[in-house]
């Protein structure tokens, strides 16, 4: 473990859709069944998503948002694409089956390094950080870009108000530098997978089991199917478990942890997890109100927003915790590096 974050960035599509707009469009929400509450009232009491950004489907692909997020992260790190030794991307919404989004981004960034794309959703960024850390060490290289970019709305059934209000699109990125022995950076991680419950959150059609066909389209099999109860229980359990286990592995008490950046599955889920681990809600970075659940991109987007708002101090102990499709989960414990502050105190990464 030696990867230090030296730059963050994120990008959200231009188009914004509010709950009121969704309700007006007609997304299968019945006020009568909700005791007269508007869709916005209902959603804000639960997942807490007030608005989300949506890609222009058929025009914008994951590589577009990923590229911009990466450029911002590189700029913060004071680097160019050609400085990169490795690009690791996670997405389940690749621009194409071939070439994949990582290939397009490598070209966009004028990078010449090896790229790897992981096929993953909500836990994707955590997996990508863990892999980048391992691969930099294994390949004996020093600078990696990690990007998660997901167009989740692609798979949202337009008549399913839960999906339509929960999800959003976007990309987040981080530039990592390998600094063995540094007081900063990744200190520990935990990760797990349980394929046997994979169909609790899945997209049935359009793959090799149910190839593209008129029937798949007619039956709406190209949209996600989601077992809410099962995934809610799983999400709160694993979000909390990841936090507790990774803190233990890092040798930290939870009270030492300054910030928790949860995968943004829902404000309710994050608050449940906070209660479960006995930590104050204020430590949890929650930005889902204006992003929705952006799958793998949610953690790096939240991290970048908080970073640019000056919330992180040099030396802050931070835990990222994610869970989702697979089903899978993972958490990373890291020490924040603030270049300006560190330099002022004569510290080096």
């Amino acid at each position: 473990m030696s990867a230090v974050i030296i730059g963050t960035g994120h990008d959200l599509p231009e188009q914004v859709v509010t709950n009121d707009e969704l309700e007006a469009m007609g997304v299968g929400y019945d006020r009568a069944r909700a005791g007269g509450k508007s869709l916005d009232e209902w959603v804000m009491a639960r997942t807490g998503v007030h608005l989300r950004h949506r890609a222009r489907l058929g025009v914008e692909g994951s590589s577009d948002f990923g590229t911009r997020a990466a450029q911002k992260a590189l700029a913060m790190a004071g680097l160019k694409g050609s400085d990169l030794d490795l690009i690791i991307m996670s997405t389940y919404t690749s621009d194409h089956r071939a070439p994949n989004s990582a290939a397009i981004m490598q070209d966009n960034l004028d990078a010449t390094c090896k790229f790897l794309q992981l096929d993953g959703a909500c836990p994707g960024f955590v997996d990508a950080v863990i892999l980048a850390d391992a691969m930099m060490q294994f390949m004996n290289v020093h600078t990696a870009l990690v990007v998660s970019s997901d167009i989740t709305t692609l798979y949202c059934l337009p008549t399913d108000f839960m999906m339509m209000t929960t999800f959003g699109d976007g990309a987040g990125a981080a530039v990592l530098r390998r600094e063995p022995g540094s007081p900063y950076g990744v200190k520990a991680h935990v990760t797990g997978t349980k394929g046997s419950i994979g169909k609790a959150l899945w997209v049935p059609g359009g793959g090799t089991k149910e190839p593209p066909s008129f029937e798949v389209l007619a039956q709406g099999r190209q949209y996600a199917q989601w077992s809410h109860k099962e995934t809610y229980a799983f999400a709160t359990e694993k979000l909390a478990e990841g936090i507790v286990q990774v803190a233990e592995r890092a040798g930290w008490s939870l009270d030492e942890v300054k910030w928790y950046i949860p995968h943004q599955a829902g404000r309710n889920i994050a608050l449940d997890a906070a209660r479960n681990v006995g930590q104050p809600a204020e430590k949890f970075i929650i930005n889902i109100d204006h992003t929705g659940n952006t799958s793998g991109a949610s953690i790096p987007i939240a991290m970048d927003e908080a970073n640019r708002a000056g919330r992180f101090a040099d030396g802050d102990k931070i835990i990222l915790s994610a869970m989702g499709a697979g089903l899978a989960w993972g958490a990373v414990a890291l020490v924040w590096y603030d270049p300006a502050r560190a330099a002022a105190e004569g510290k080096h990464p």
Binding site: L57, G58, P99, L116, A134, F138, M139, G195, G207
Partner: protein, 355 residues
């Protein structure tokens, strides 16, 4: 050195499709246009394809991968509960979510961490690199590394060329961490050329152009190739990464006993052999009866050659791959005759001479 292959397995679906089968309903092939050649003659000459395997209805990537994995496990004698990592490469996921790797994990009754690499023909070398990286730095001990693809999925039924080139299949290896050994994975040389991404292109059915009636009607979910550009690039890259990885390993080509290449076509592999000035017999070639299997090419070739006892203890292998992205990679590997080393303890001791 390091991580050693202690089991191999492969799976090709039952249905075999011949060139004559394809000619029977090909819309864009005529013997006149082919200067009197039959499809069979044309395919054999242009890329070396004779037969390939197609999945049965309802059979998909995870099914093939599961079979290959089971065979590799049986070959290794390792119990599934001792596998702590599954790394799988495919561009043909069963569903958009979850990953086929997760379905394989469930099918095998495993609790191993699964991770799926979204890569084409370079995928098996990529996955080996990912598995090795995680084993070296994160403490995993026994990995299943799988390449599996249902490539016929991308074939436009109206185009005979891809139908004669591509097939379906899966291959797997069990990789085990060994300490103080002269065998195993030695070095990687890998890279990517994203600026050439349009050489292999599936325009529709993913986020840039989502699956819709329009995509279906216009065949945008089928792949398109810049075959001449691919050919030149593939020969150059495969030659180059082979030379690079051999040098990086502190070896020369004279030390190499076998080349187990990704097989985009027989012609490409033989051109590489010529460039490297290596005899064709050194190259494990399965393409004539499998077709191009993307990530599955190398592990299937490895398993077939292994089953025929081609590899001797101590043999140096190079596994070079090039593919969609465009991406490339090669790995050097010193073969361990793991079956000879077994004393009823699967892969644990590896105590054959020189181990």
């Amino acid at each position: 050195m390091g991580n050693v292959i202690i089991g191999t397995g492969s799976y090709l679906p039952e249905q075999v499709v011949t060139n004559a089968d394809i000619e029977a309903d090909a819309e864009d092939f005529s013997r006149e246009k082919a200067h009197g050649a039959s499809m069979d003659q044309w395919a054999r000459e242009h890329h070396g394809g004779v037969t390939r395997h197609h999945v049965a209805p309802g059979e998909a990537t995870s099914d093939m991968a599961t079979q290959a994995a089971r065979r590799a496990l049986a070959d290794s004698g390792v119990h599934i509960k001792d596998v702590d990592l599954i790394v799988m490469s495919t561009v043909t996921n069963d569903y958009r979510l979850p990953q086929a790797a997760g379905i394989v994990q469930a099918n095998l009754g495993s609790k191993a961490k699964f991770i799926q690499v979204d890569a084409g023909c370079s995928g098996f070398v990529d996955s080996l690199m990912v598995a090795n990286g995680l084993m070296e730095t994160e403490g995993y001990e026994t990995a299943l590394v799988i390449g599996a693809d249902t490539l016929t999925y991308f074939n436009d039924p109206k185009k005979f060329m891809p139908r004669t080139v591509f097939g379906d299949g899966a291959g797997a290896t069990v990789l085990h961490k060994k300490r103080d050994t002269d065998y195993g994975v030695k070095s990687f040389s890998t890279g990517s050329d994203g600026d050439l991404g349009d050489y292999v292109w599936v325009p529709g059915g993913a986020s840039k152009k989502p699956f819709s009636q329009d995509v279906l009607d216009n065949g945008l979910h089928y792949w398109r190739f810049r075959f001449p550009d691919i050919y030149t690039w593939a020969v150059e890259r495969m030659t180059r990464c082979t030379l690079e990885v051999v040098k990086k390993s502190g070896l020369t080509l004279d030390d190499i006993k076998w080349v187990v290449p990704h097989q985009a076509s027989v012609n490409i592999v033989l051109d590489v052999a010529k460039r490297l000035e290596l005899p064709e017999e050194m190259f494990i070639i399965t393409y004539p009866h499998t077709g191009n299997l993307s990530s599955a090419s190398i592990p299937i070739a490895l398993d077939e050659a292994n089953s025929q006892s081609k590899f001797n203890d101590g043999d140096w292998l190079v596994l070079p791959a090039v593919g969609a992205g465009m991406a490339w990679g090669a790995v050097t590997y010193r073969w361990h005759d793991y079956k000879a080393g077994r004393n009823g303890h699967a892969g644990a001791n590896g105590s054959s001479g020189g181990g």
